[in-house]
């Protein structure tokens, strides 16, 4: 009887699991599966040939321009990651070091932009980076520039700056959370054992917050890698990225199989980065 009851509850659990996962499967996994299939089709003339082949993948690999854009985008994502690591770590450290109400205001200031529309944020950046924008005005005021520069908009710099600024919270928050999880008694213990403030940071705070930095870096890298909106809106003709290349296959070029194949390549790189980050962010001493 109890066996029957447990089988019943097992079936019930399975049912609820199916209900819970039905929507994500329908709207995330199925489209991805569709892309996977599309990637193995190819285009001849204006028609999609629905038979299995690696032609679309070979088309991508054989197109020097696309491969160059692919590596340039990897470099862009890496730059966004490094810039945000350098900018974000000190901010996270600062927020976790202050006490009282102020820290929550600062955290809120990081979270609020995450709730805003991505496009609005990009347009805001466009206004800041333009030749009459805040950045140029400030540089003119400080005497760094004699006349407004066009270096900040409609090129790769613009894409880099825009992505870095918009994705900074994704770097700061995981680092902040990792810092918060370090018990105060550990830095106390290090001090007690004779460590100077710098040694405490180097030996305790930094290595123990590294998993957070890895997660933040992964967020920035993966988000920058696949983004096509920011390059589209602030990149101009120079700021051409892999995301835009894919986008164009679905639009102007109307080569869905090639676009799908390129998407799958992007997905594999992103998954590899996530897997690597997962390994680094979960070191041996934590798994023990």
């Amino acid at each position: 009887m109890s066996a029957a009851a447990s089988t019943g509850s097992y079936a019930l659990r399975l049912f609820w699991l199916a209900v819970v996962f039905a929507l994500p499967c329908l709207f995330i996994l199925l489209p991805m599966l569709a892309f996977l299939i599309y990637g193995f089709w190819h285009v001849e003339g204006a028609d999609i040939v629905r038979s299995f082949s690696f032609k679309s993948y070979l088309d991508f690999l054989g197109n020097e321009a696309y491969v160059a854009v692919f590596f340039r985008t990897l470099a862009l994502a890496a730059k966004v990651m490094v810039i945000n690591l350098v900018l974000g770590y000190p901010v996270a450290l600062f927020i976790s070091s202050i006490e009282g109400r102020m820290r929550y205001y600062l955290i809120l200031a990081l979270i609020v932009p995450l709730l805003m529309s991505y496009i609005i944020k990009i347009y805001a950046m466009r206004a800041i980076l333009g030749s009459k924008g805040l950045l140029n005005q400030a540089l003119l005021f400080l005497g760094v520039l004699d006349r407004p520069s066009d270096l900040f908009l409609f090129n790769m710099n613009a894409v880099l700056i825009t992505m870095a600024v918009i994705m900074l919270p994704f770097m700061i928050l995981p680092i902040f959370m990792a810092l918060e999880r370090i018990p105060k008694s550990l830095t106390d213990a290090a001090a007690d054992l004779g460590a100077t403030p710098w040694q405490r940071f180097r030996d305790i705070t930094l290595p123990m917050s590294l998993p957070g930095a890895v997660v933040g870096g992964m967020f920035c890298f993966v988000l920058a890698l696949g983004d096509f909106l920011a390059p589209e809106l602030v990149g101009g003709t120079q700021g051409f990225t892999f995301g835009r290349a894919i986008f164009s296959q679905f639009g102007m070029a109307f080569n869905w199989p090639l676009g799908a194949a390129m998407s799958v390549v992007l997905l594999i790189v992103a998954l590899a980065v996530i897997a690597a980050a997962g390994r680094i962010a979960n070191p041996r001493w934590q798994r023990a």
Binding site: S185, L186, A190, D192, L193, D203, R284
Partner: protein, 368 residues
């Protein structure tokens, strides 16, 4: 006596905002002493330890070591090491690196670190676990790593913040014996914080009892146990009977139980007629069933009725109601017997104790 190795706290005050955590703490710990700071939670004992260690600064008073004020010496330059309540082992370092950390940050040569870490791990019997991470150790092992990490720095003073609190009873007793013998062997001064009075009594050379931010009494364990100076100390250490009364004459006290004789030098300082309390340990009380008249007037005799008998193992706890004050039962501890106790609830008897076996506590106005 020289000031070498002596730790002195002089008039220490500590406040957090409006709350006074410590007021007027005076405490001297001699070189090589095992000093226990004992008190209930919230009494300020850990705050005292953190002040000595340099984690926090006092609002008033002086901390001296070797005769010099060390209040301004930053934490990492004090020759003291702490064993933390949660051990505070570095989770991302192996046992070896944890223990060697204090040497590493002082730029000790690598081969010397290796040798001294090995020695320290041998002292705490963890010689072969050096390669493990803290998460792979049991609670008792972590505790010993924390101890080795402090010992290896050869500090002048080791501060221990309830280090046995997280261990189970059996391991706790083993560690008590181990800590005590270790302290004897290495000769380092230990300042040990605990709320466990049994632990304090068995391990310490001296105990300072804290309550609500002040030190109530400092003394040897037997002094603290048998000669408490305040009601708090009398009741915090094990069971005690407190009998309220007034001084009648030199060694006579009028109480609700009738006149009682008490031989205690402290009684000389109290004026006749003044209110006081008498503390008698339950094991100092004796139950008798013959009703012979007193042969020795240094023995107090009180007729009682047995209210309850509770078997708790090697001893039995008997509540005895004095005939003159049935609402103030006295607790008696008497050795248990295999054959059962020769008395039962409701039996009449006589409670006796020697006039030398009680102490007088001045009435400090606080009710029990």
């Amino acid at each position: 006596m020289t000031a070498e190795g002596r730790l002195e706290l002089i008039g220490i005050d500590k406040r957090y905002g409006e709350t006074t955590v410590l007021s007027g703490i005076d405490l001297t710990v001699e070189d090589g002493e095992f000093m226990t700071i004992l008190g209930p939670s919230g009494s300020g004992k850990t705050t005292v330890l953190r002040l000595i260690g340099g984690f926090i600064a006092p609002d008033g008073g002086e901390i001296r070591f070797d005769g010099q004020n060390i209040a301004d010496v930053p934490i990492h330059l004090r020759p003291f090491n702490t064993v933390f309540q949660d051990y505070a082992l570095f989770p991302h370092m192996t046992v070896q690196h944890n223990v060697g950390y204090g040497l590493m940050v002082r730029s000790t040569p690598a081969d010397e670190i290796k040798r001294r870490v090995g020695e320290a791990l041998d002292v705490v019997a963890l010689g072969d676990l050096g390669g493990r991470y803290p998460a792979q150790l049991s609670g008792g092992q972590r505790q010993r790593v924390a101890l080795a990490r402090a010992l290896v720095c050869e500090p002048k003073l080791i501060l221990l913040d309830e280090p046995l609190g997280a261990l189970d009873a059996e391991l706790r007793r083993q560690m008590q014996t181990f800590l005590k013998s270790l302290q004897r062997r290495v000769g380092i001064t230990f300042v040990f914080v605990t709320h466990d009075q049994e632990e304090a009594i068995t391990m310490s050379d001296r105990i300072s009892v804290m309550n609500e931010g002040v030190i109530e009494q400092i003394g040897r364990p037997d002094d603290i146990y048998y000669r408490p100076e305040s009601r708090f100390v009398a009741t915090f250490f094990g069971d005690n009977n407190l009998i309220a009364g007034r001084k009648a004459a030199d060694d006579r006290i009028d109480t609700g139980l009738g006149p009682i004789r008490c031989i205690d030098p402290g009684l000389g300082e109290i004026a006749n007629g003044q209110a006081l309390s008498l503390a008698v340990r339950p094991e100092s009380l004796q139950l008798d069933f013959d009703v012979d008249p007193p042969s020795d007037d240094l023995i107090n005799r009180i007729p009682i009725t047995i209210q309850s008998v509770e078997f708790v193992g090697s001893t039995s706890r008997v509540l005895a109601c004095p005939s003159s004050a049935p609402d103030q039962p006295l607790l008696v501890k008497t050795p248990s017997r295999m054959q059962g106790m020769p008395f039962r609830e409701g039996d009449p008897g006589i409670l006796t104790w020697s006039a030398e076996n009680s102490v007088v506590l001045p009435d400090d106005g606080s009710s029990k």
